[in-house]
Amino acid sequence: MSSAVTGLKGRAELGVAHLLGVVGVLVFLDANGLVTPYSKSDPVGPKTVPFIVAGLLVVCAVLLAINVLRGGKGEAEGGEDVDLAHPADWKTVLPLAGAFLLNILLIDWAGWVISGTVLFWGSVLALGSRRYIRDGIISVALSLLTFYGFYLGLGIALPAGLLEGIL
């Protein structure tokens, strides 16, 4: 694909076709690796449907690539808070994903109250709020509230982590 990418700026949608193709090939290879003796009680076997799905994906990948090269374009989705006039704002999305990732890394070790606070606080900051103190208080309150709400109300024990014994 590398040779194709250089000359095709603004055709990011080819990446979608690429992804479809890769997933299709993966599904095919995975199914091909299954070893199944023919059985009378299951003539279809576990391979058939993956092969069909792989075929569908690869055909879509090829057709989509052709469609994009011919100038076809998928229409980006609108919404109440979506303003498509400005380009994708990676300075918001990446920190947001970062906060999410941090939560994944922290949740089992530090516990939900801490990781949830990090998640909410980080997300609010990433999304442009600048009232650090108020946001922090809201984050801690939300995490504590959901922790006890889930424990007392639903009987689901979220991990307490570092705060084990305190909470």
Binding site: A31, T48, V49, G74, F120, L142
Partner: protein, 528 residues
């Protein structure tokens, strides 16, 4: 089974103080979350799923009934007061509804939407109670070949009919089917697409997939394009209608219901087409056609009724056949399976009390919706002003919480993020979300029916055509798939036949002009 006595049993279950409270909580939560921009009914149900885990199934589904209708109603409030509908089914409501609101008639617009929803929801639920047992009676006679065909029809119809680009619809369907393959094969026990990760062998939890694609994908997508200028929200008092508004509303409500229910019950019906048909009809029949485009109350009353009747219609194939036809029904189906309940014809005999309690609480939820929402409308309007950073951070927060609480493992959050990124990409490049979700849910069941069918016919593919219903459905599928080709042929032949008027916009009369009219509605894909 006698519908009336079953329904009365359902009411006696649903009307206990505790269950009534759950219905009330459901309606309030559903409306509150549904009003929030960016959150449609399917996401509302997906996000609130964990809240219901601690409840017994009956109470949980009573709450779902409230959430379902509440989420629907919340969406229409948003489109009337904001004029930027988040759901495809509210697009038409926004046309006249927002004009009415701007002309100072927001209270009447909200009132006709609320009362129309109540009327249509009540009639629609009655039709559901009457139709579902009939469908079940018919469905128990069907075998695997017919089920396979029906599921194929649902998948292909949703993919090919809704949305703008069929190609992108099928791409989305393929991804969904691939996600559905992950895990141990149910027949041979071999692991597929698990890449040696033991945590994947149980397959991906549908709740996690739905929350990832709907909530996380949506939050990331909005974050990338967040509108920095605040939207203008029209303040509103308590909804009410004058005598003249009633006179002008009641017929559109009834006509909208007639459009909505059958379309909702069809495999690819959805609410877009009936709301649009209702709008066009009201415009044609109105005594005040000049008001259309400037805030005609008929243009709110009809489509809103159609929307809610379609919501009730959708539940017919969901309960009777186990066939979800929109995103909300798909998530509800996932909820059923997480309780170990398999929707389908057997559901009415094996879980009769639960189903009838659910249907009864749809009636109750509908009434509660009216009683609660008329006085609370000003409060809901305030919710629209929630600062956006809190709103989208909150969506991520609760999405994480919901997905984590299913299995209490951080690995699910990794999947949540990866599939959230996929959801982001799909929104960016116009891949519809619905085919993916239906692919994940229906894919494994489709495969099961296929294998059962060919097992019965000892591997002979002719077994697929061994039931007349199945053959009939394949004919319908063929027509759906061939339709664009037919259109193209007609279009290609038309200009040649009438070359004298090539510049006239009417030269492509017939199917194309219809197609043009419907496009604005079909452009927007359904927002969960």
């Amino acid at each position: 089974m006698d519908v009336w006595s079953s329904l009365m049993d359902g009411f006696s279950t649903a009307l206990t103080p505790l269950n009534l409270m759950y219905a009330m909580i459901g309606v309030i939560l559903g409306t509150a979350v549904g009003v929030l921009p960016g959150l449609g009914p399917a996401m509302t149900v997906a996000l609130l799923l964990p809240v219901t885990y601690a409840l017994e199934p009956t109470s949980a589904f009573i709450m779902f009934a409230g959430i379902y209708y509440g989420g629907m109603y919340g969406g229409s409030t948003t489109s009337i007061l904001l004029n930027t509908p988040g759901e495809s089914s509210s697009v038409v409501t926004a046309i006249e509804g927002n004009k009415m609101a701007k002309a100072g008639r927001a209270a009447q617009a909200l009132a006709t939407a609320a009362i129309g929803s109540f009327v249509a929801g009540t009639i629609g639920t009655t039709l559901l109670a009457v139709c579902a047992p009939i469908v079940v009676k018919f469905a128990v006679s069907l075998g695997s070949p017919s089920y396979f065909a029906i599921m194929m029809l649902a998948l292909l119809a949703v993919t090919a009919v809704l949305g703008k680009s069929r190609l992108r619809g099928f791409a989305s369907l393929g991804l969904g089917l691939a996600i559905g393959l992950v895990g141990l094969d149910s027949v041979t026990g071999q692991s597929r697409l698990t890449f040696g990760i033991p945590l994947l062998s149980d397959g991906l939890d549908i709740v996690v997939v739905a929350v990832a694609i709907f909530a996380v994908g949506e939050a990331l997508w909005v974050a990338a394009h967040l509108r920095r200028t605040p939207l203008h929200i029209i303040p509103v008092g308590r909804p009410w209608m004058g005598k003249k508004d009633w006179q002008r509303s009641w017929k559109p409500w009834l006509r909208g219901t007639v459009f909505g229910f059958p379309f909702g019950a069809l495999p690819a019906g959805g609410a877009e087409i009936p709301t649009f048909l209702s709008y066009v009809t009201e415009k044609r029949l109105s005594k005040h056609p000049e008001e259309f485009g400037h805030g005609a109350i008929e243009g709110v009353a009809g489509p809103e009724a159609a929307n809610n009747a379609a919501a009730a219609g959708t539940l017919t194939p969901m309960l009777a056949l186990g066939l979800p036809t929109n995103a909300t029904a798909a998530v509800m189906l996932a909820a059923f399976t997480s309780y170990g309940i398999q929707p389908g014809p057997q559901l009415f005999s094996s879980q009769g009390p639960l189903v009838w309690a659910l249907i009864a609480s749809l009636f109750i939820g509908n009434l509660l919706l009216l009683l609660i929402n008329l006085p609370l409308a000003p409060l809901w309007a305030k919710l629209l002003q929630l600062p956006r950073p809190y709103l989208y951070a909150g969506i991520l927060f609760f999405a994480t919480l919901g997905a984590y609480s299913v299995n209490l493992q951080a690995f699910d959050l990794v999947i949540l993020l990866v599939l959230g990124a996929l959801g982001f990409m799909m929104r960016r490049f116009g891949l519809p979300v619905l085919p993916l979700i239906l692919g994940v849910i229906l894919g494994p069941r489709l495969e099961g029916q296929l294998r059962k069918t060919l097992q019965l016919s000892a591997g002979d593919p002719a077994g697929l055509f061994s039931e007349p219903i199945a053959v009939g459905i394949y004919v319908i599928i063929g027509i759906i798939l061939a339709w664009p080709l037919v259109l193209r042929l007609i279009r290609r032949n038309r200009p040649a036949a009438a070359p004298a008027v090539p510049s006239s916009p009417d030269s492509h009369a017939g199917p194309e002009s219809i197609h043009h009219e419907t496009t604005p509605v079909q452009h927007k894909q359904e927002k969960p």
